[in-house]
Symmetry: C2
Subunit: 445 residues, 2 copies
Amino acid sequence: MRVNRTLSSLLALTILSSATAIAANTKPDAPIKPKNIVFVIGDGMGPAYTTAYRYYKDDPNTDEIEPTIFDRLLVGMARTSPAKVSGYVTDSAASATALSAGVKTYNGAIGVDEHKHPVTTLLEKAKATGKSIGVAVTSQVNHATPASFLAHNESRKNYEQIAEAYLDSDADVIIGGGQRYFSDDLIKKFEQKGYQYLNQFEQLDAVQSGKVLGLFADVQLPWVLDNPQGHQLSKMTDKALSLLSQNDKGFVLVVEGSIIDWAGHGNDIATVMGEMDEFANTLATIERFINTHPDTLMVVTADHDTGGLTVGANDKKSWNPAILHKLNASPQTIVSTFTAQDNWQDTLIQKLGFKPSDEEWNTLIAAKNDKDSKLTRAIIDLVNIRSNTGWTSDDHTAVDVQVFAMGPASKLFIGSQDNTEIAKKLDSLLPPSKSELMKKSVANK
Amino acid sequence: MRVNRTLSSLLALTILSSATAIAANTKPDAPIKPKNIVFVIGDGMGPAYTTAYRYYKDDPNTDEIEPTIFDRLLVGMARTSPAKVSGYVTDSAASATALSAGVKTYNGAIGVDEHKHPVTTLLEKAKATGKSIGVAVTSQVNHATPASFLAHNESRKNYEQIAEAYLDSDADVIIGGGQRYFSDDLIKKFEQKGYQYLNQFEQLDAVQSGKVLGLFADVQLPWVLDNPQGHQLSKMTDKALSLLSQNDKGFVLVVEGSIIDWAGHGNDIATVMGEMDEFANTLATIERFINTHPDTLMVVTADHDTGGLTVGANDKKSWNPAILHKLNASPQTIVSTFTAQDNWQDTLIQKLGFKPSDEEWNTLIAAKNDKDSKLTRAIIDLVNIRSNTGWTSDDHTAVDVQVFAMGPASKLFIGSQDNTEIAKKLDSLLPPSKSELMKKSVANK
């Protein structure tokens, strides 16, 4: 068992001297400051989400447990509490404002401080330096997280106002869901400003340049579990990277795995794992981009944990993800597609991928006889019990979230940091804006 | 709102060039490899424990939230799954064997691999290089975690065999609880080997040198909540550091906040916070030692999460630690001290530090009329509800744990790592053992 200690000491020295490069995921030939920044947010993705995802993806036929892209890119953690007026547990609006502008604010605030005054965001600052900017998300594009980068509003609930405000954001790429919040009139105004408006996901393929407003769903994009070959977030990200990188001055892109959080609110572990899988695909897409564009920094974090997910529960030392791979639709879709069918039980078995026990059937039938939403919940509960997944809430919790980074300056994000510090660090990596350059030039005269 | 970007760019460069030193918590004058290692384990201390502790310690009268020592020292995270035969959720024995010997094994294994073969541990390797070694814990000294560093047994339950095995460990300092597992005969054997045996905590003060076996309780040491001025873990650690550092060749000390886990199994958030507080005091004690001994590395981690603790629960965006500061005894002790009293309700109010509501009294009285253990649980539940604390299990969960480090080579621990890698990295920092030096000398002739 004993390894040769002289050899292992040499190894230690080698590891030590290269530790920074390894840990900071930076290529030796990368510049010290990035030209491009991709800021990726997994909404609701607390630390249990990435752990669960690793074991969900584990190949049970090998002895080892394969590390995920999260494991490769982890550099630190972030503290997420909002301004004290809102206690210790943040919502997505306060957290996104912290991440976009470096300011603690109240829950519900979109790009405004505690006194409801607008605060300048990372994307606005980047635009002022001549860079291109964009957002690509799986919720409506005017949902709290992207809104806090592109707009200023005292309440996240003012969806129409936020959509209107996007007209003045000068963002180059705005893609996701949310058709219901953009009137024909508003879309016309976007087109008058030079935007190409897309309302079909497939149209994205043909776009080669210019500004884009793409709304591919009434509200959210479909669950990954209901559209496994869609790869919508990674495809949107890929397209955004190709459009934004046409600017010689670089770009800042915000990407959000928005509905990881929504599935977490529903305590729906199978749907969560589907969203996490496409989120991981998206990180891999960005990683490939960085491999050919080493002047690009990717920073990934979450805004908060959702649901109090725990990997194991119910007084048992186990977590059993195998059952999650059997489902071939989300519980929500399973129920909505067969409510009127006589043979709903056969369809349910087919969609679940496994046959409930007699006792489980009793619960499911009772729930169906009550109402459809109860049946959805009964299916979710059944999957939680079989996988031994724990949840403590349908709301957010305060646990610190992780920070992942790759590319130039990624070592800035090592260790524990407040979420506002992430914004400040990213800000410090932007070049001087035009107005600042002008001031500087005046001062030098 | 806009900061001067040229200034902030300069700041970024400054941060970048010093990021490694900041993140790795290493003094500029420290050697590249440590002479001494202090390996600290918070048993059961999942990521929600350190988050909860920050908000528990927060001064509500300031706008900011004061960072803790955990925030200052965080460098990475660790993956804790045991050998696949035991699934994805580890126990303390498999995890401690991973941390001590770099080997994945089955739940219950003490310093043995999957085939029940002994594996050489960090402390055994350190001893073979001429260093002093020791353990200081708050459970019985022969509990799973310290046992996996000093003994080899197919089962953690074989407490007497493990205690016997300690005789041959040649450990210089063994302090904690566990009198019931050490017979008079066994203690005599320790004394014949030159150990000073102590059975009163106060005796520790007088010890100035030599080997020590100190057993200060029948099983576990008292809860911090029942002995707030005791500071037993930090005092034991301080004494261990002063004894072990008398060896010119250095030392390796394992410190465990053992019963953070036990309070977690009980889902008892007030008792957990008491244990966390003394654990943080202990880290501060070690930090002070490193400040005067910059050749010392401290690495801190947890073996696993316990209880599926969540900071917030019950569909509410809040966590309310103020209530936890009111209790002046642990729920267990509250109940055991007044079971026979007529005026138990008055005593309960006094010990809790707050008056239960009528509805809460109904629950407590019903539980007391049933049995004492139910009353303890009812009090714990009451505190969980008032603080809005979530738990999903009385057992462990699989969420990744954090890694904290300070001192030479601390940057080795940046990022995500398997728990076995922590052992391998620490191993790589030890000098060659005597037998290896002899081999090398023969080879050179």
